[in-house]
Amino acid sequence: MASIHTERETLAYGGASAGLSSRWAVARSTLALAFRSIIVFVTVFFLATLLTFALQGLSGLSPAHLQLSESATPEAIAALEHEWGLDLPLWQQYLNWFGGIVQGDLGRSWYNGADISLLLTSRAAISLSIAGLALLIGVTLGAVLGITAAKFQTTWIDRAITTFTTFVSVLPPFVVGIGLVAIFAVWFNWFPSAGYVPLDRGGLGPWLSHIWLPSLALSMEAVADIARQLRVGLIQASRENYVTGALVRGLSSERIFWGHVLRNGSGPALTMLGMKFPNLIGGAVVTEAVFGLAGYGRFAADSASRGDVPAVQGVLVLAIVLVVAFNLLVNLLLVRLSPASARGI
């Protein structure tokens, strides 16, 4: 960032302005970063919704296909399209639709006229429960495995973990899902093999027992990726000069690892997590099919095959918001982890 940069230069020059507070510069840079992030969020959101909206025009579909029979008169079609506001100029249609989105209104389904926001909320709750729990498992288990492998670098523990992560990462989630069902649901009969109980209806226990297996199946890829990235990141960070520096200043290796190496070495894993998040949402769709859950993926597939454009658009808008928001969060975390990186952007 320009402000920090110039100040650094004056410092290097030993100039008279070296008394400028660097704390102020850091605060300014954080603010500027937040501002830029919001700009990015808004731009991406705007462009993505524009593309999503264009689906309607590109598909050439209209509610008339769904609601009227083959023998529909042109007048009847025109009347229906007027009722849905499809005779308005395109930009106005987009503005109406966008205005609705901003207020959380995704429009109504062409298929049955139901409120899409409402339909989607109950479906998304299932998918997001699974994706969220999968994320949690992925981060926790991935971190534990990655840290353990790095700490016991080149020993049999490291090799065992590496073998496990390599094995797991080549298995597609649906195969893992079927395997888990076969073992835990059919064989041991510990968990239900299909279905879903909302949190507010059955409480924590039944909710967890229903989403546990799909989440586990979905999380395996994230576990493997995070473990491997973290291992490499930590090993690289532990070879940096500052580790030697801290050592000769009298800090113990343990303290250096947990206090310095872990923080600096987790950047790559975090970056990767940001890139993996869309996979997690996409993977939830496949997992839902294996576990017979009526989640957001099923909703998207059904709506698409029916030609229910507003419903598909609703699904996409939700996905856009989730992915962009998550990446924003990851980026902010990355900047927290490495203050020097705030300079470049």
Binding site: A2, S3, I4, H5, T6, E7, R8, E9, L11, A12, Y13, G14, G15, A16, A18, G19, S21, S22, R23, E240, N241, Y242, T244, G245, A246, L247, V248, R249, G250, L251, S252, S253, R255, G259, H260, R263, N264, L337, S338, P339, A340, R343
Partner: protein, 574 residues
């Protein structure tokens, strides 16, 4: 007992302790586990309390490995295969990790080259020092911070509060080295190892760091091991010197004795370089009177008038070069001296069109280059009138292209010579830089640093330039290669090529230039005959620069206190 007697007893005890050995190496061998060879053989020395032992040697001589063995941080593939190391009564070779953690920082510690990399990049520097104090001394956060601020002031950082809250990337090289020294002395260690701490720093900053170490030694009773490839650095501060070569001590003794009567050929080479090409050449000579200025009738090759260059960013504008006016005549050799950021590289870049001046005029060989379009520049460069040699030869040579092709490229581009003429030209230049013809089929990666730099010079020469600009051409080289490059430059001078030699080190420039231009914060503050600059420096900065240059003879080099006074004056003036 009265207080006076107690005082006297303590003083006596202190005198007795003075000279007591704190570290003793006896026949230490260090083995490379993979090759099974001993890379360090039979090193013995004793470090006494309050004394300074210097270890000199080129890279690969084993000096850093020896230090790492003493600190218990040898790289994984290396181990001590013989001898003993006694650190304050502890047998270093049988210490457990826990004991090491206790000893490091409190008894022995180290600072290294490239100080920025030895600090955690994502933590404020103050917090890093405070962390050590807190964990080892068990004091509160507030006390640790207080002590850290004292330490930062102790290493003469101007604004401790400000530096405390800064990240490493916000500090300059000299400041980082001082922060690192502050961190090193935070637990009052007995021994401090300084491994190439001044390498890659500006000469004036080098002297500041060395002065600081000498000062800390006196005030805290530290014992120092100073490691460097530069004999002159060691000569400034050490009581005793060990010269290492290929893992063995080839010469040792009191510093003054070694400098005055070197026995080993390698030591003589190190000292000889200074007498041939360092400031000693001027300082050793009898005091001279200023020569009357003769009218120089040689034709002018480069004329720069009122050249200004500024770098703009979105929020600020920095003048890197202010109103530079000078001439370079045919066959003349001029030195451009200044610290990092003084504008010396900017000046050179303006001459070859890499930056565009915001004001002023430059003409080269009669052509006004200031208004050149990109196409005109291309044509002009193709003619090869002016050539540039960069500091880092590895990065300025294409690693995927053979030496032969690298040398032939500018000539093929000109398209005026036949193949056999090109070959003759290349052979001629190769001989001139004293390289064998069998190197032509190699790639840059297969050459040593010195060879690569000579290839870079040869490449600049194939187009038979009138002017050669050399940007820090010897800064990354060791003694022997440095001498070789400087000799080559002197032979070019004799053949009538004009040279512009840019460096932060007056010493390396003095031997091959007749005039020196001193740049300070973007302005040319002094231009004079090299002899005059060394013996009668005018500007405050030039005086500090001459007084900071490492020399193997103490004559002429001013003392620590005068240097400090100069620094303060300079600071007050700006």
């Amino acid at each position: 007992m009265t207080a006076e007697i107690i005082d006297r007893l303590q003083i006596t005890a202190a005198i007795e302790r003075e000279g007591e050995p704190v570290l003793r190496l006896d026949g230490v061998n260090i083995r490379n586990q993979i090759t099974g060879k001993d890379v360090v053989r039979g090193i013995s020395f004793t470090l006494k309390k309050g004394k300074v032992v210097g270890i000199v040697g080129e890279s690969g001589s084993g000096k850093t490995l020896t230090c790492r063995a003493v600190l218990g941080i040898l790289p994984e593939l290396f181990s001590v295969s013989g001898g003993t190391i006694d650190l304050l009564g502890h047998d270093v070779l049988s210490l457990e990790p826990k004991q090491w953690t206790q000893l490091r920082g409190t008894s022995i510690t180290a600072v290294f080259q490239d100080p920025g990399s030895y600090l955690n990049p994502s933590m404020k520097v103050g917090a890093q020092i405070a962390e050590v104090i807190r964990t080892k001394r068990g004091v509160t956060r507030q006390e640790a911070k207080q002590r850290t601020l004292e330490l930062l002031a102790d290493v003469r950082l101007r604004d401790p509060e400000l530096v405390y809250g800064q990240y490493p990337f916000e500090l300059s090289g000299g400041m980082l080295q001082r922060v690192l020294i502050a961190a090193a002395i935070s637990l009052d260690p007995k021994i401090l190892i300084a491994d190439e701490v001044t390498t890659a720093l500006d000469v004036t900053v080098q002297a500041e760091v060395l002065d600081l170490l000498a000062d800390l030694k006196e005030r805290h009773g530290l014992s120092l091991i100073v490691v460097s490839h530069d004999l002159a650095v060691v000569a400034q501060i050490c009581d005793e010197v060990l010269v290492l070569r290929d893992g063995e001590v080839v010469e040792r003794g009191a510093t003054a004795e070694v400098l005055r009567r070197p026995k080993h050929g390698y030591t003589r080479l190190l000292i000889g370089e200074h007498h041939l090409y360092g400031l000693e050449r001027f300082l050793d000579a009898k005091p001279t009177t200023p020569k009357p200025r003769l009218v120089d009738s040689r034709p002018i090759l480069i004329r720069a008038e009122g050249v200004c260059v500024s770098y703009d960013s979105s929020t600020s504008r920095r003048q890197a070069l202010k109103d530079a006016t000078f001439v370079l005549r045919q066959g003349e050799s001029i030195g451009v001296i200044g610290e990092t950021g003084s504008g010396k590289s900017t000046l050179a870049r303006a001459l070859i069109g890499l930056v565009t001046p915001s004001a002023g005029q430059i003409s080269i060989a009669g052509e006004d280059i200031t208004g050149f379009s990109a196409a005109r520049w291309r044509d002009f460069r193709k003619r090869g009138i002016i050539q540039y040699v960069f500091q880092d030869p590895l990065r300025s040579l294409d690693p995927e292209v053979t030496i032969a092709d690298t040398l032939a490229e500018p000539l093929l581009l000109q398209g005026m010579l036949s193949k056999s003429e090109i070959r003759d030209r290349i052979y001629f230049r190769l001989d001139q830089v004293r390289l064998q013809r069998n190197l032509l089929n190699r790639f840059p990666g297969e050459l040593s640093g010195g060879q690569r730099q000579r290839i870079a010079v040869a490449r600049a020469l194939v187009t038979e330039p009138k002017v050669l600009i050399l940007d820090e051409p010897v800064s990354a080289l060791d003694s022997a290669n440095r001498v070789q490059i400087l000799e080559i430059l002197n032979s070019l001078r004799a053949n009538g090529t004009s040279l512009m030699f840019i460096s932060h080190d007056l010493g390396s420039v003095a031997g091959v230039t007749e005039r020196v231009m001193v740049l300070y914060r973007g302005s040319i503050v002094e231009t004079a005959a090299t002899d005059d600059v060394v013996n009668r420096p005018g500007h405050l900065y030039t005086r500090l620069l001459v007084g900071s240059a490492p020399t193997v003879t103490s004559i002429g080099s001013i003392d620590r206190r005068s240097r400090q006074a100069l620094r303060e004056q300079l600071e007050a003036a700006s």
